[in-house]
Symmetry: D2
Subunit: 344 residues, 4 copies
């Protein structure tokens, strides 16, 4: 921690700050210039609230000099984390595509979707069984029946599956069906849930909160790792800004920033990130070009009839086109995508 | 719902939209101008996703014409909601002050704080027992022991108590000790938690999420009411913006806006809203001047030693000053504050 | 400037950074901990771009330790700046109210408005003659005729006048009529305009840009002062956020923050800050309660007929009520408002 | 315009609204449901402020149904606008790369940069002669000497040139040297400047303001076109959000949105959009993948010595790599880039 005193701060103020820092357990190095003093406070206290010092007499500014997360940082682990899911690797040279409907609705829908996305190169099937909905009057998901349908469709087409967990009480149930636990944007700072998922024994797909900084997002990952789960996949899904032409603003620059700060894989979700079908294809291409390790996209056999998020779900044809473009761009950036089983 | 077609949209496109609207169960009124057609879709479907229509050929824009919430709206209930807590009324002509430390730390701290805030006119005591902390390495609260200390201190000084609930599994435990359940900003859209609190039988203090619009906030209140709990108190605690001089941007204009849209009482929390002790007093005054029904402020007998949020906690003297100013401004806007038991 | 090296950064990287800093003219103090080195770079270079150092090998973070502005800072000038306008003082114990229509429209409108606001305690008359309008098809102002009408109405009622300048070419013309030059939010970083106003010889009313941080706003003030004009009045008028219920989000916490960082007077404009007439009164009260040195509000004899911003303009009766409330709150915070000439 | 009355609004309120609308010159179609009335107001008034109706008794909401811009819209002109600059076409199948230093510093710098970027496929040379700087103490540009050096370097290497204009008074001077006028983000709503550039006779490169919505940006383009200049190139350069890891948040989703709403070409500037050299390459690739018509990037022979924005300027080698990647991705999306004259 670095404490910058105000220009011409008096000696008593400076000494008081040093004493306080010592009281909090820091060693202090003092450096005095002509009209300004800077104090270096040495000691590892990741949970220290720097505002304790900021409010003291004579203090101009305080800077934390170590990142508040450790296990999630690139300085702790140099190499990219690879995560094994259902026999396939996520991260590294692979570009992984997760596809499927927003909500699991029925067997026919899941079968059609799983068959289609598997044929064109997706390796993980998504589908919500417990849905976080802004309105209490909206479809809230099929519950366990949804989990069963998701798993069955995935198994029939050799796809791993991923689904969202919203509450601690559901972890055990969902564990029986899923390969990856998804934590939604609204729960990114549901710390009790993160702690429990720390010993859930399966990877966690951690979406960025709509108002979370990259640092806070990595702190949420730190919760998972510190509580025992190193298999964390980050997913950029858009932040809230003043622009309303899109549902969120997909912050693709988070991809190179995270790659520099952390060893964890990072995906992008252009469906939630834009909220409009016509923007999903260009933004999926852009995410891969920016260096994403994977994509999560919503696909539905009949979007106008979807029980949730139909307007941002791709038609089957559009998914084929997306895979074709993504495959070409992946090649430019040195990534492999699972092959299509049918010709596009 | 109003559907605006693009200028010169063709007849087949218009007819297709009408057919779709009928398919979703709407009656349609058509109004054609010289070069533009507008369709009015009549029917009450609070959970309809307007983007289904937005993506159709020829559609320029779609507007929902009813607010998506019902029970939380002023058009459903004209008069201000008054909530009885521990024999005292919240809302209406009363200005209620909730005060106390961020976290419950020990008996001495709680006793000193409760005695002080009660003496100067607070009627509710706050204190966290289970704390949502950005870092997994920060103090996470005393748990049930914290609840016990909070309740005991409140009882000794005739103060009602309020504390935060972060997870469904803790509702029953917390219910034994608290008068009001607080839902924190990070859980404003934890819909499973809201549903359960719908039948918790005690009032809920619902903080605004850092990236929640006023409409989404009222939708979260709607979850509580629709699931059985009409006693909802809203609390503005700052939104996330680009400005970093303050921890959040306290959006006081939400107070007149909520007063116009809803019958629910609305408080402000200048401690979290600004994150800096020197801004709490002016922003507390401002909140009351803007029409708030109450304040929640953090007070600590020794802020530099606080285990959380010390830098934004008021010193005892500052709380006395705050109550003096607030009392004077309350009078200007026609509100009553509980009397001080000692002279300021 | 403080340069924090990454943990375990190698000696060559550290020495390279020191050499670069020396090359830029800084003296360097080195402080090495067990696994991390911190460098203090001493030397006053207000325009140094710290990113030059941030991008070097081994550097974790760089912090500027002096504020980038000087003349606008409280550390350069301890006492509040008082500004004399037309024989009346702005700042200090005085609360100044500026009122008038958005645009000057005709003589009758100006006469009615000036008479009314003067009678109730405003001391400055506002009115736009050259209007910045989002649409090229909107009313763009009366030009010099507007300036003439504004001045005449002000003179008849002993009010100083203020009007907006949008372009260097208009400075001389506007100088003939106005007492204060207003710089609008959209021009807060029109640096050529600021430089010219630095030697305009009359005070400048500098509105905060909709996406400007408080620091950038004070830097804009610094332009004016550094180019010769110390008479700068700041005005908070709302920032752009994700919330759309109000036109902007009036950031009243900027008031205590600016008071701490700067000696300049700060006003608030609740009319532009909210964009809705029903929020002007509560937010005007709130601004005064937060410590503002003055208010700018829009008043119009017939808002529905106004050529611009009618919906946020107060009716005459509402202005009377505003002055009554403001006067009462000013008293609570120790401020004087000019007396009303008629009974409210 | 569509006016939605509150549920159960009384007949007098409805009739009053109709009368007002007629007074403003609208024809009104009334549609009454069981408990709600909707009014369609027909008539083309692009500058009508809908808030006039919003504030009336009984009105719930008002929606403008036509976009406020005309000439900039895709519904006015179906085909993509192609712009001829110095004999080369911008827009359509071409992907145009603009490169060069932030500021023109001296002849050697311009010669080296122009030679390098031309050799690798850039067709336009950028360089600032008049610089908008946040600090009055920063380098403000070489002025006319800078324009001369820019033009000469461009001419020697067969590159068109582009430079920023900040003030009306400089238009004539800059016109003598440049092929394209750049309007910076801070001047996007400098309406007087836009009006003058409407008859400047050369294309305008209009950067998006940091807090401008896409609609406001297209309105600024409308100013240019309505005042006579149809040759407008849009440039996304990042918006201001709460995230501080990057200087701005490059909103690449604006590209597909603008393509849908407008016929104008749209570029991206990943240098200003991110502010960090290590993010420029991935975000340049992403912009092309998202469908941009071109890129503007900063390149400098010796970034650490640059007088402005060195930290976000590419090294020469990095520019070569960027062109290689961009060329490959351009092919995927069906675009042509000017050939490199040397092998990469």
């Amino acid at each position: 921690m670095v404490v910058v005193m105000r220009p011409h701060a008096g000696e008593p103020a400076i000494e008081d700050v040093i004493e306080r820092l010592n009281g909090y357990g820091f060693d202090v190095h003092r450096s005095s210039g002509v009209n300004q003093t800077v104090l270096g406070a040495i000691g590892v206290k990741p949970d220290f609230d720097v505002r304790h010092i900021q409010v003291l007499e004579g203090v101009a500014d305080v800077y934390r000099v170590t990142s508040p997360y450790k296990f999630a940082s690139r300085s702790w682990k140099k190499n990219d984390t690879l995560i094994d899911v259902a026999g396939r690797s996520i991260g590294g040279d692979t570009l992984t595509v997760i596809a499927g409907p927003c909500s699991v609705e029925d067997e026919e829908q899941m079968e059609a979707t799983a068959a289609h996305v598997a044929a064109h190169g997706a390796t993980l099937l998504r589908g919500g069984a417990f849905k976080p909905r802004t309105s209490p009057y909206s479809f809230q998901g099929l519950g366990e029946e949804g989990l069963r349908l998701l798993r069955a469709a995935g198994d029939r087409h050799d796809l791993g599956v991923i689904t969202e967990v919203m509450d601690i009480a559901k972890i055990d149930l969902i564990h029986q069906y899923t390969d990856i636990f998804q934590v939604g944007a609204r729960n990114m700072q549901n710390f009790d849930l993160l702690k429990e998922l720390g010993h859930a024994g399966k990877p966690v797909f951690l979406k960025r909160g709509a108002s979370a900084t990259i640092e806070e997002w990595l702190m949420a990952a730190e919760y998972l790792i510190a509580h025992g789960n190193p298999d964390v996949i980050l997913c950029e899904r858009g932040i809230r800004t003043f622009e309303t032409a899109t549902r969120n603003t997909l912050d693709l620059s988070s991809i190179p920033v995270v790659k520099q700060k952390s060893h964890l894989p990072i995906f992008a979700d252009p469906s939630h990130g834009t909220g409009r079908r016509d923007a999903v294809l260009p933004m999926a291409r852009a995410a891969v070009a920016a260096g994403a390790d994977g994509l999560m996209v919503e696909v539905h056999p009949n979007p106008p009839a979807a029980k949730s998020d139909g307007p941002q779900s791709l038609l089957f044809d559009q998914f084929v086109q997306l895979m074709t473009h993504v495959r070409a761009i992946a090649e430019v950036v040195g990534r492999n995508v699972a092959p299509a089983h049918v010709s596009a």
